[in-house]
Structures are given as C-alpha cells and as structure tokens.
Amino acid sequence: MADSRSISLKVNGVAYQKDVEVRVTLADFLRHELRLTGTHIGCEHGVCGACTVLVDGRSMRSCLMLAVQANGHEVTTIEGVAPSPTELHPLQQALRECHGLQCGFCTPGMVTTLMEFLKDCPNPTEEEVRIAICGNLCRCTGYQGIVDAVLAVTGGKRA
C-alpha cells in the first residue's frame, strides 16, 4: 500500500492542501497534481536545472525534493513570476528582447534561478551572471542572450 501524506503548502501565493504519495518528487507534484507544467524535467539527477523552483525564496532543484518536504513552505514557480496575465516581469521582458530563449525548455529554471540571484546580487558583473546560471543547461542559445538580458535589466556592462 503506497504511503501517502496530507500536505499544505502555498504555490505562487495560492494555498493548497493535497494528499500525495511520499515518494513523489516536488517536480512531479507541481506538474501533474497542480498542473503547473511550466517547471520542466530534464535529467532527474540534479544537473540540468530545468526543474528549478524557489522554496521560501531559495532556488532548489525540484527533482531532488520530495513533495512532502514542501509541506508548510512557499513555492514559487515560473507561473508565479509575471505580475499579471498582461504584464511580464522585467527579466522576462528582457529575455524576450535579447533573444534569451529559443525552445524555451530551460527558460523557467533560468528565470527562477535568476530571480534569487538578482535579489542577492542586484548589480552583477558579466562573470557573476555566468556563474549564477552555470547550473542551468541550455542547448539552444549558447547563453549569450540570457546574459545580455540580465545585464540589460541590471544596467550592467558586457565584459
């Protein structure tokens, strides 16, 4: 008999109470239980970063967390980043303007990672931006457009 727990958590400001099997990862819970499919799964061993979400404001790989571990915490996913259905967050807008996405699969993880980074480091150098995203793999862009977007938002300079 599969072991289940009842969990209460907030996701993008909305409170949920759900029963979840203990072995289900947070990534799968968000995607399949809550139908928030913006968080993507790329490797399930903590390397690609596509599944990155914010838990209490800190970026974490949701494929390496169990859903039950999010009980009592606040999760922010990509769906919670834009301020409204008609406005984008400045980082999202900059990614668009700088062609910082192509297929878009790594993008949600990039954005959540950068949201934490920009809070901690509002005026990064290019090198610091690159280090901030080196745990997020992209196979399409070569990263240049993403770096440009972050520097555009922070007013920083290309090295």
Binding site: A2, D3, R5, T25, E44, H45, R58, C63, L64, C134
Partner: protein, 284 residues
C-alpha cells in the same frame, strides 16, 4: 527515473531521529538530498525506509565554542557560505564551500550529508581533513567522538553503524591572521574537483611556524602532503618544492583520467593554494 517505494519518516527532534534509526531496518537518512535523491531517482539504492532530517531544527547550527567551530550536521552549505563567524574564523571553509556545485545545490545540501557521502572530490571532506576535525556521532544509546582521519572506513563509506548518525562536526580554529587557500581544478565551474588543495599557514613573520597542506579529489580519502615547511622561509621556490611531494601521493585511475594526470594537477593546485595562503598571511 522515479524513486522506488519506501516508508517515509520525518522526525522533529534528534531523539526521535535516533529512535527511528535504532528501530528501523534498512533505513537511509535524507539530508539535503543532493546525493541521495539522484540515487533514489536512478534506483541505485532502494531503502525500505527513508528518514528525513530536514525538520530536525536542533541539528542546524553554526557556533564558535572557544577554539572550535562547531557546526550541526544539518547546517546548509548555503548558511556556511553566508556565515560571518565561518568567514572570520575559518575562511578556508568559506572559500571551499563556494566551489560546491551551484547555488541550487548549496541551498539544500548540508555539511552532514556531504561528510557522510565521503565523495573523494567533496570540498568539505578535504577541509575537515585539513584541520583534523572531530566528528560527533550519536545513537540512541551514546555519543562518540571520532577524529576525522578515522571517519572514512573505505571509499565513500563512513565508519558509522546502521543505528548511528553524524550529528555535528568540530573544527579547530587556526590563529587569527593565518594564511589559507583552497584551490581546485574541475572541468566546468561547479563540477566535481579532479584535484583540490587546501593550504593553511602560520608564521612568525620570517619563517613558517605551522603548515598543513591537504590534497583532495585524487584518492578515496584526502591526503596530507608529506612536505615539511615548518621552520623554512616562505617563497615561491619553497612552494614549488612542496608541490613536488604530490608525486608521492596515492592517486586513482578512472574512466576519464589517469592517476598520473591527477598527481600532476594536484601539484598545480598545491602551488596555487600555497601562493594564496602566503598572500593572505597577516604580516604585521
């Protein structure tokens, strides 16, 4: 790649956790999950029980206790990275922690998890060896202290019984103004170190009075470099000479690199770590 079924336990206190460890069969401790979760996802391990330590708050602390820095097993690597007391009293650890994976890894990963995993490349393992840390291991019945040199029982295997867990680590602090340097070479930023070196120096302004160089990443356990620097005048030539001692170290061949190559880069890491350490020695 989904985890196999297991029974899940989330104790709130250390006593509860130890009680579970003492009574459950085939249990793994889940700390930061950065090592265990990939193994579960890949079904490389299939424990009957998982004991999640993330709600045991009493295991998460960093405190200076006289000449020791004591860190609880569940202290996050991120908290170590941002700790003023670590930065002030144990800057080697501060420098090393920043090499661990990426921000997402460190936000979740713990010192206890890293030390118990005993990955040859693990920065915290090398640092613990560098200062002869003491690990504190507890079971329901007793607490014991173990010098870090006795902590590994073999490759990636700590000398911990099935009913025991690591609860804290005590790091002796070096004199204020000591020189420190941590260097590692990895293929990409954040990757596992192919070789690392931790250098610690104290001097009396003319000669080195205390030196400890530890090489990690190239063998199952960190190794103390058999180079005698005490009593010598610090110089680049001395550091080059010390680095040559890497030729005497054990080094593992693996699929990608030979032991010979690893000794070679260990030399470079030792030189660079010593150079940094010397530059940071307080010279008043």
């Amino acid at each position: 790649m989904k985890p196999p079924p297991f029974a899940y336990h989330d104790p709130r206190t250390l006593a509860e956790a130890l009680s579970l460890l003492g009574s459950l069969d085939d249990a793994r401790l889940l700390a930061g999950g950065q090592s265990l979760m990939p193994m579960l996802n890949m079904r490389l391990v299939q424990p009957r029980n998982v004991i999640d330590l993330n709600r045991v708050e009493e295991l998460s602390y960093i405190r200076l206790d006289g000449e020791f820095l004591e860190i609880g097993a569940m202290a996050r690597q991120r908290d170590i990275e941002f700790s003023d007391v670590v930065r002030e009293t144990f800057p080697l650890m501060y420098e090393a922690v920043r090499h661990i994976g990426h921000r997402q890894t460190r936000n979740r990963g713990t010192i206890g998890g890293s030390l118990c995993q005993l990955d040859p490349s693990a920065e915290l393992v090398t640092v613990a060896a560098a200062v002869d840390a003491t690990v504190i291991v507890a079971s329901q019945l007793r607490r014991r202290k173990l010098p870090f040199a006795e902590f590994p029982a073999g490759l990636m295997t700590p000398a911990i019984e099935a009913n025991e867990m690591l609860v804290a680590v005590r790091f002796p602090v070096w004199k204020p103004g000591h020189g420190y340097g941590f260097e590692e070479y990895a293929r990409r930023h954040g990757d596992y170190a192919l070789a690392s070196a931790a250098a610690l120096l104290e001097s009396d302004h003319r000669r080195i009075t205390r030196a400890r160089i530890t090489v990690g990443g190239i063998a199952p356990q960190p190794q103390t470099l058999p180079a005698k620097l005490e009593g010598r005048s610090p110089s680049e030539a001395l550091f080059d000479e010390a680095a040559e001692a890497c030729g005497d170290l054990e080094a593992m061949d693996d699929v990608n690199f030979t032991g010979e190559y690893k000794r070679h880069i260990a030399k470079a890491m030792v030189k660079r770590a010593l150079h940094k350490a010397y530059g940071r020695l307080s010279k008043h």
